[in-house]
C-alpha cells in the first residue's frame, strides 16, 4: 500500500500546505485508494462496529431512564457522521484531482520506508512473545537491538550489548528498589543469585 507515491506527475504544492493538484483528466483506480479515502472507510467501519455492538448490549428491565445503550448509540452515530464527512471530502478531492494533504509541519509528502516500520513493529511483537518466556532482560535486549536496527544503526553487536546493560540495570532497579514484579525468565537463576530475590 504505497499511497505516498504520486498518482501522476505531482505539481508543486502552491502554499506548502494543502492538497497539491495533479493533472485532471483520467483517474485510475489507484487514485481512489489514497489514504484519505481509506481513513474515511476505516472510520465508517469503526462506527458500524460500535453501532452493531450497541444493539447487543443487554438492558436490565428494572432500569427505567436512559440505559447503557444510549451513549454508545450517540457516539457511534457521531463517528458515522464524521466518517461520512471525511468520505465526502476525500471523494471531492479525488474528483477534483487533488492528492491528500501532506502531514502537519511538512511541505510535501515524505517518502515512507515500510521495511524499518515493519521491523519496529516486529520488535515490539517480539517483546510480547519473549517477555514471559525468556524474561524481561532478554526480551528487552531484543526489542532494543531491533528498534536500533530499524532506525538505521548497523553496529548490531554493540546495540545488543547496550540494550542488555540497559535492560539489566532497569530490571535491577525496578525489582529491587521500586517493588515491581518482572519476569526473570531464563536468567532467573543468575538474577536471583545477584539480587537475592
Amino acid at each position: 500500500m504505497k499511497d505516498s507515491q504520486p498518482i501522476h506527475t505531482p505539481a508543486p504544492a502552491p502554499h506548502g500546505r494543502g492538497p497539491a493538484p495533479v493533472h485532471a483528466g483520467e483517474r485510475p483506480l489507484t487514485a481512489w485508494l489514497n489514504r484519505d479515502v481509506l481513513l474515511a472507510l476505516g472510520v465508517l467501519g469503526l462506527a458500524a462496529f460500535f453501532f452493531v455492538g450497541a444493539t447487543r448490549i443487554r438492558i436490565s428491565p428494572v432500569y427505567a431512564h436512559i440505559g447503557p445503550r444510549f451513549f454508545p448509540f450517540l457516539v457511534s452515530t457521531g463517528l458515522a457522521l464524521c466518517g461520512a464527512g471525511l468520505l465526502i471530502q476525500a471523494v471531492r478531492d479525488v474528483l477534483q484531482g487533488r492528492r491528500p494533504a501532506p502531514p502537519e509541519g511538512e511541505t510535501e509528502d515524505p517518502p515512507l520506508y515500510w521495511g524499518p516500520m515493519l521491523l519496529s513493529l516486529a520488535s515490539v511483537v517480539a517483546q510480547i512473545v519473549l517477555l514471559e518466556r525468556a524474561g524481561f532482560v532478554i526480551s528487552s535486549t531484543v526489542l532494543f537491538a531491533g528498534i536500533a536496527a530499524a532506525f538505521g544503526s548497523r553496529t548490531h553487536l554493540r546495540n545488543a550489548v547496550i540494550g542488555f546493560i540497559l535492560s539489566f540495570v532497569t530490571y535491577w532497579a525496578f525489582t529491587q528498589w521500586l517493588g515491581l514484579r518482572l519476569p526473570g525468565g531464563v536468567l532467573r537463576p543468575i538474577l536471583a543469585w545477584l539480587g537475592g530475590s
Binding site: H65, P103, E104, F151
Partner: protein, 502 residues
C-alpha cells in the same frame, strides 16, 4: 486572606525534604523529556504511573507537576538549538529562537526563554492560587447537567482548536470516546464491547492508549520516515547573560505572554499551543523591530515562551477545581488522580487541602528550581541532544513496554499497546490529531455518567440542559465555539471573493 493561609499550609507540605526531593526529581525528568524529541510530559507521566502506585499521592503529584512544568522549559532548549520543537507548545520558539541561535545569539534566546518561563510561570501560579478558590465556589453549585454541559464545551473547544481540521479533531475525539465505552457500564454493571475478553471488563486503560499513541505510534512513524528530523545542533557561542538591550526588549513580552497564556490556559481550550501563536503575532505587531521578525527577534522568543508556561499553569485550574482535563498531559494527570482513588474537583479542596495546596505550593518551588536547572546547566542538557536517534527510540520503546506491562503484569495490555501504536501510526499518517482522542477517552465515561445522572434526576426530561442557567450558558458558548470558526472562514472567503471581483 484565607487563601494565603491555605497556601502557607501548602508550603509547609511542599517544603519537607522528601517532597522537595520529589519536586527536584520531577523537574529534572521534565527537563530531560522536554529536551528529548519524541518523548513528552504526557508520555512520561503515563510511564511513571505504575512506579508511583501505592506510594504517597502528595509526593507523586508534586513529581508529576514538576514533569509538566519541566517539559515546558526543556522544550524551548531543543526548539532553539535544534529547530525541532521538543513538544508542541514550542513550535513558535523553534522558528524565531533557532534563527537567533544561527545568528550567534543562542545564549540570549535561551536566557530570555528560561527567565520568561520563570516570570510567567510564577505569575500564572499566583493566578492559579487565587482563581482556584473562586472556581471551587462556582463548581460547588454545579449539578450533573452543568457538568455535562461543561464537558460538551470542552469537547468542542478541544476539537476545534487542536489540529488543522475540525472534522479530523472530532473524529479523533469520538474515537477516544468509543474506546472509553469498552468495559463494565458504571451505572448498570452491563459489559460493553468486551469481545468476551475478561481483561476488557475494566476497560481500556488510558495509560496504555497514551503510551501506544505517543511512544509506539510515534516510533513507527519515525522509523518509516527514516532519519528525518536529524537537525544540526547549534553551539551556544554567546554568553547566557542577557544584555541591557535584551532585558529592555524582553520584559514586556514576558508580561504580555503571561497575561495571554494564563486565561487561555484556564479555558477548556486545548492547552498551550494557541496562546503561543497569539503571543507571537501580538509581539510582531507591537515590536519596534518588526524587520527582525523572521530573522531571530528576541520578542518572538520571550513572548511565546512566557505564554506557554502561563498556559500550562492555567490548564491546572479546570483540572484541579472541576476535574476537567483540557490537554493530553492534563488527561493523564486525571488518570493519575483516579489511580489514587481521588477525584479532582471542589470536594478535593475540602477533603485533601494538604494535597491540593501542597501541589500548588510546589509549583512555585518547581519554577525556581527550573530556572536554576535550566540556565547554568544548559550545556549539560544540550548533550542529551547528541544521543543518536536509534538509541533514543530503542530506549523509549523499552520503557514503553515496561510501563505497560507493569500496570497489570498482563500480555493482553502489551497487545493493546501494539494495536494502539498502529492506530497512532495511521492517525499520524492521516493528519488526525492525537490529543482529542486522549481527552475523549478520559472525559467520555465521565460525560456519560453526568448525562445519565442529570436525566434520571429530571425523570428523562431533556430540557434540563437548557433551563438551568449555568448549563444553558455553557452550551451556548460551546455552540459559538463550534460555529464561529466556520462563520469567520465564510466571511473572509466572501470578502476575498468581493475583493477579487472588484
Amino acid at each position: 486572606m484565607e487563601t494565603l493561609g491555605l497556601l502557607l499550609d501548602g508550603f509547609s507540605v511542599a517544603l519537607t525534604l522528601q517532597n522537595l526531593l520529589w519536586a527536584l526529581v520531577g523537574v529534572t525528568l521534565g527537563t530531560i523529556v522536554g529536551i528529548l524529541p519524541g518523548i513528552g510530559p504526557a508520555l512520561t507521566v503515563a510511564l511513571l504511573l505504575p512506579v508511583t502506585f501505592g506510594r504517597d499521592p502528595i509526593g507523586s503529584f508534586i513529581m508529576f507537576a514538576g514533569i509538566y512544568y519541566g517539559g515546558m522549559y526543556g522544550g524551548s532548549t531543543t526548539a532553539i538549538l535544534l529547530n525541532t520543537p521538543g513538544e508542541s507548545a514550542s513550535i513558535i520558539t523553534a522558528i524565531e529562537g533557532n534563527l537567533m541561535a544561527r545568528r550567534g545569539r543562542g545564549g540570549a534566546a535561551l536566557a530570555s526563554a528560561a527567565i520568561g518561563s520563570f516570570v510567567a510561570g510564577t505569575l500564572a501560579t499566583i493566578g492559579l492560587t487565587f482563581m482556584a478558590p473562586v472556581m471551587v465556589n462556582l463548581a460547588l453549585r454545579f449539578g450533573p447537567a452543568d457538568y455535562f454541559a461543561l464537558m460538551v464545551l470542552a469537547f468542542t473547544t478541544v476539537t476545534s482548536l487542536l489540529g488543522s481540521s475540525l472534522l479530523r479533531g472530532l473524529t479523533s475525539l469520538l474515537f477516544g470516546m468509543a474506546l472509553g465505552l469498552v468495559g463494565i457500564d458504571l451505572q448498570t454493571g452491563q459489559a460493553r464491547y468486551t469481545l468476551g475478553l475478561l481483561e476488557m471488563l475494566d476497560g481500556i486503560d488510558v495509560v496504555i492508549v497514551v503510551i501506544g499513541l505517543f511512544a509506539v505510534g510515534e516510533a513507527l512513524y519515525a522509523a518509516a520516515r527514516r532519519g528525518a528530523g536529524d537537525g544540526e545542533i547549534i553551539a551556544v557561542k554567546d554568553s547566557l547573560w542577557m544584555t541591557r538591550e535584551d532585558w529592555r526588549r524582553s520584559w514586556k513580552p514576558w508580561l504580555r505572554g503571561a497575561l495571554l497564556g494564563f486565561p487561555l490556559g484556564t479555558l477548556p481550550a486545548g492547552g498551550a499551543e494557541i496562546p503561543t501563536f497569539l503571543s507571537y503575532s501580538l509581539e510582531e505587531r507591537l515590536s519596534k523591530h518588526k524587520e527582525e521578525f523572521g530573522q531571530g527577534a528576541i520578542e518572538g522568543v520571550a513572548g511565546p515562551e512566557a505564554a506557554n508556561n502561563a498556559a500550562a499553569a492555567g490548564v491546572l485550574v479546570p483540572l484541579l477545581t472541576l476535574g476537567l482535563p483540557t490537554s493530553a498531559t492534563a488527561a493523564i494527570m486525571l488518570a493519575a488522580f483516579q489511580q489514587f482513588g481521588l477525584q479532582p474537583g471542589p470536594l478535593l479542596f475540602q477533603n485533601r487541602p494538604d494535597l491540593v495546596w501542597g501541589l500548588i505550593a510546589s509549583l512555585y518551588i518547581g519554577n525556581a528550581m527550573l530556572l536554576v536547572l535550566n540556565l547554568p546547566l544548559v550545556g549539560l542538557w544540550v548533550r542529551l541532544l547528541t544521543i543518536p536517534a536509534p538509541y533514543l527510540y530503542a530506549g523509549i520503546l523499552v520503557f514503553a513496554a515496561l510501563g505497560t506491562y507493569s500496570l497489570n503484569n498482563s500480555l493482553v495490555d502489551l497487545a493493546t499497546l501494539v494495536v494502539t501504536g498502529l492506530v497512532g501510526f495511521v492517525m499520524r499518517r492521516c493528519n488526525v490529531p492525537v490529543a482529542p482522542a486522549i481527552v475523549g477517552l478520559i472525559l467520555g465515561p465521565l460525560a456519560e455518567q453526568q448525562l445519565r445522572r442529570a436525566l434520571s434526576i429530571s425523570q428523562g426530561d431533556y430540557s434540563v440542559f437548557f433551563t438551568r442557567p449555568i448549563s444553558a450558558t455553557l452550551l451556548t458558548i460551546a455552540l459559538v465555539a463550534l460555529v464561529a470558526p466556520a462563520v469567520a472562514r465564510f466571511v473572509t472567503a466572501r470578502r476575498r471573493a468581493q475583493q477579487a471581483a472588484a
